[in-house]
Symmetry: C2
Subunit: 286 residues, 2 copies
Amino acid sequence: MSRIVYVNGQYLPEAEATVSIFDRGFLMADAVYEVTSVLDGKLLDFAGHQARLARSLNELEMQRPCSDDELLAIHRELVTRNDLTDGMIYLQVTRGNPGDRDFAFPDASVKPTLVLFTQSKPGMADAPAAKTGIKVISIDDLRWGRRDIKTVQLLYPSLGKMMAKKAGADDAWLVEDGHVTEGTSNNAYIVKGGRIITRNLSHDILHGITRAAVLRFAAEAQMEVEERPFTIAEAKAADEAFYTSASGFVTPVVEIDGAAIGTGKPGAVAKRLREIYLDESRKTAI
Amino acid sequence: MSRIVYVNGQYLPEAEATVSIFDRGFLMADAVYEVTSVLDGKLLDFAGHQARLARSLNELEMQRPCSDDELLAIHRELVTRNDLTDGMIYLQVTRGNPGDRDFAFPDASVKPTLVLFTQSKPGMADAPAAKTGIKVISIDDLRWGRRDIKTVQLLYPSLGKMMAKKAGADDAWLVEDGHVTEGTSNNAYIVKGGRIITRNLSHDILHGITRAAVLRFAAEAQMEVEERPFTIAEAKAADEAFYTSASGFVTPVVEIDGAAIGTGKPGAVAKRLREIYLDESRKTAI
């Protein structure tokens, strides 16, 4: 089935969905994005993703393409037109098409480019990785210095995924100055003696929407949370490990650089947080 | 006049030149580029740019879109169709359009996307900046760790140009660990006691094609060259400063962070190197 996607006010068959070669998203990665999960046809944490989008746009002095209400309407229209039950909606905003290439920003008359499309993932909430856990390798974090802005500068995360694949693993955890920053497209956690440890927010990591929700639920469930950088050695000696992301929810990590973590099986904390996250997110899905 | 541009085998009016929204160049900055200057309708240092393109593609395990001969033919066809006398030809290769978004590389059946377009700059060899020099500010270098690969991850260089503009300057020199790496889209040099000082090649800077040529010409002209990192304090105390790039050739820098360099006027070394570079490059232009 051909998807119907959204490009600058139009709903189009995916094969016809294009942008100008002069779009700044294409020529200089001058673009930000969000991925919102859909379960049972409803959007998870939509407000959180829209708030982060607004922050990314603001940090880069980029225009908002439309109102939150309009964005919600586009998301819902795409769910309907594509009969989406479980999956994701990808949204990208670029600084637009000035008609030529120039490092300087175009003037305000150049409108941002807005692109959205769906990705169907039937049974996403019961992904096999949630039961088996995933394996990660550690690699140097070579990304730029503002990972808190969700830009499309994803070449290094993409290279990292390929390094993991080649090493027989599923993902890579990025290490800078001896400490884990995050996964290639997710936030990283370890659990030791009942304490959940994850890196504190800064310019060094993405301010995960799922991270914020999971830490809130953990606190409500009286779990201890420590926000600070941790090392790969600490991770290897941890009782368990996991990651969070919009599409992976809470997913156990059972091996780092070939070393089993804890029992080498998904841990109880990750399992419980995944259940709470899915339950609570479904309740507030719109 | 509407330009004729090249996209994946087709010559098209610029307004009709598009790529899929699923192109990896658009979704994840998985793309590299080159800019070749044209003077009197001829390509400057074409072989150098093609060699660097091949290196960028190789470093990222990206397929070559076509042979060097075919690329040369496309460049020449664009010069002819657009009646280009002086200016640049921009070339971009992406990992192609796999039809969906995925961090993992697509399989080899997905062909790279190839885009080229011209930019006319009449009188480029006599640009006013060559006579007046430019002003730069220094800013932190927040780019990713592989600046030797010429990727389209140009958001930070673009932000840097805007910071310079706001400060009343023309460009920014990027500083990492106390030393200048390079300009936002060019290599940086200072001259002290007759010695030309520029940062040594590594993953930290672009391996400039113009840089290589200029250093070769400098050596042939018995000028002393020292390839090592330098500080902003050294630059402020230098006799002169300049930058090199494919489209700026050799351009004097007369002010850094508000402080005049040397006399505050373009220096003799930059002037001489610009003349030699233009003379020699015209001789070998094709």
